[in-house]
């Protein structure tokens, strides 16, 4: 397929697609610039809201069972075995987390395999949690960069690109919004609404991302995955 780029325009002639970026809105999707995050008193209650949403949307084909315990599938069984190691490395901000993310990536169905989506959610929450606790961002970015890079090598090109960007702290607008509502004094209803926007990503992607968010928050703040 021929793709022609000129100035701020992209032409894909065979698909009759013309994208003009000249007047496009500029948004900084670098999470590094989001300051003022805090760990709210009701953090774990917010996690419960996320778990409830995951429970409603989740299916036997995704990784939602990691936080709901509702289903059994070979992908979730596999990830579960690797999760403990990743959790421990992340708690210590250890670069070994990169290797372990690589061992999890590329697992599950879909254009972006479920475990990749889960890792995107996991890294996003890890970054947000660290910022909210006032930890050194440089140190955390080293870990997430390693996670994104290693994971991207174990999956397909498209999914790998998302993982790399996430590791660099480049999150989607909706994910930034969710992190800001979780790590602030935002009300439960606001968290629910921003989480629902994530849930609407793809068919299983949103659920898997939210699952990753819950796994990371619970790992870094105590709490339970099920129940």
């Amino acid at each position: 397929m021929n793709v022609i780029t000129a100035d701020d325009c992209i032409f894909i002639t065979e698909a009759d697609v013309f994208i003009n970026l000249k007047d496009s809105m500029e948004r900084d999707l670098s999470f590094a610039n989001d300051t003022g995050l805090l760990v709210p008193k009701d953090l774990l209650s917010k996690v419960e809201i996320l778990k409830e949403l995951i429970g409603d949307k989740g299916s036997e084909y995704d990784l939602s069972t990691l936080v709901t315990g509702k289903y059994q599938n070979p992908y979730a069984d596999f990830v579960m075995k690797k999760l403990f190691g990743l959790n421990e490395a992340v708690k210590k901000n250890n670069l070994l987390a990169g290797e372990l993310a690589g061992e999890i990536a590329g697992c599950g169905i879909g254009l972006t395999p479920s475990s990749d989506d889960m890792l995107v959610g996991y890294m996003s929450a890890y970054l947000a949690d660290s910022k909210a606790k006032g930890r050194s961002c440089d140190e955390i970015y080293q870990v997430t960069n390693a996670m994104g890079n290693k994971a991207s090598k174990r999956t397909n090109t498209i999914s790998g690109a998302f993982l790399k960007q996430c590791g660099m702290g480049l999150l989607s607008e909706d994910m930034i919004l969710l992190m800001c509502t979780i790590y602030s004094d935002s009300k439960a209803e606001t968290v629910k609404k921003s989480a629902e926007r994530i849930l609407n990503f793809g068919s299983t992607s949103g659920t898997d991302m939210l699952t990753g968010v819950v796994l990371a928050i619970v790992n870094l703040n105590g709490g339970e995955y099920f129940g």
């Binding site: 409603d56 995704d62 590329g106 879909g110 254009l111 174990r154 299983t204 992607s205």
Partner: protein, 519 residues
Amino acid sequence: MVKLEIRKNAYYDSVTLMLISKDIKKISGINEALVGMGTDLNREIAVNIGLATPEFETVTANDFFVVADCVDETTFEAAKKKVDELLNKKSESKDSDYYPPTLDGAIKIDPDINLAVISVPGKHAANLAQSCLDRNVNVMLFSDNVTIEEERLLKEYAYKKELLVMGPDCGTAIMNHVPLAFANVVRSGDIGIVAASGTGTQEVSSIIDQIGGGVSQVIGTGGRDLKKEIGGLMMKLGLDALIHDSQTKVITLISKPPAKEIATEMLTLASKAGKPVVVCFIGGDRSEIETFGLTAAISLEDAAHKAVALSKGEPVKDFIQFTMGEEQAEELAKENALKMAKSQKYVRGFYTGGTLCDEAMKLMLPKLGHIYSNIPLQPEDKLQDARNGKSRKHTFLDFGDDEFTVGRPHPMIDPSLRAERVITDSKDPECAIIMVDCVIGYGSHENPALDLADAIRIAKEEAESCGRHLLVVAAVCGTEGDPQSLSKTQKQLTDAGAVVLPSNAQATRFVERVLAYME
């Protein structure tokens, strides 16, 4: 034997892969199967669950694979055929026509375009609708999550330009005999419909077709059009369009009862139509309608019968009969009632169509007193946590309501949650009757009766094993011409043990008879 199929550099979304995975496992002779992108881990998992084959070495992360443990070569060929069928189904719909990527692109190709169907995330819908109106294109706004302020602005602008904004959340329309979104294959005719109700419109237009009538136009307005904030702008414009449409000889208005002043305005306008008008304000007061010299309908089914009678110049009377005949209905009701155990007292209604649920509740409320629901008729009957909680006494649920559709398709597309609920409630010793709808036609699941019929079988067996008789009463909304076929759908449900009635209203009348015998 383990067989592997590889598609190089092929990407498929997870919905496609879930469907493929589900369907190939159903093929007789397939013991285990896995589909996915050929990442290292997916290959490793395939090996771990006993699907190892040396050819896996050639699969890369950018390839799609299907691997299966099957009894023989022929079975795997059948699985491959099924995969192709499912994949081609998607690509056929993509390749059959040229789809311009932008509104301007579409208008450039065909400057005569004057109607757009908009189905995009709610936050973008109003802007897109405005762009259409600016270009004098009528709008069917399938999208929901458009604010009422946005709706008002759009409709005021459209009204001034005499353009239609059907919606937001408008699921059904038939324009110049072309069905749009969720619509049924109905015969062309002289009955025009303007409606603020999706499945209500499908029920009326389908019954019109079943009893030999036909429709000229079906104009949807969106459920909020008759609220004070909007003032029925599109109902007025739609009504006016049908008044001036030479193909339309009889007009039918369908809506929940509007606010008094809006109702008066609509009825006044209808009374000046110069054509017969049937008004179905579902559960509303018929005398108010008749004061204006209009024909009032007491149910959706009745609206269809009256419209057809007017179209054929026949006398108009309330339709409260049973198509199967009074005696047979009585006999069947008695037979079922006598089989019930003493513990069985309550009716459960599980609907995929919101208006059908609402109509059933309104028709049965006088008999049942209280009906607990996620869309209750009385505030005190609100059922909390309808999705995950238990039913309470008489419970009717609209599975298309927001609570059930967060992050999942509408139940007319994916009726599985409703099917699960049929099974769950069959275990309740107090549950006597389960009422269900089954909406077919364009847009609906390709065979919505399939999962439902399985659930009915399981539910009845479950009750039977505990010494109870569970009565399942079903009504299919659709026509013989629909892709799923009315008779085939009805037969599947009948074969599963349901009593199938030809309309939602007849189903409620039948259940009332059964309850009378149970008393």
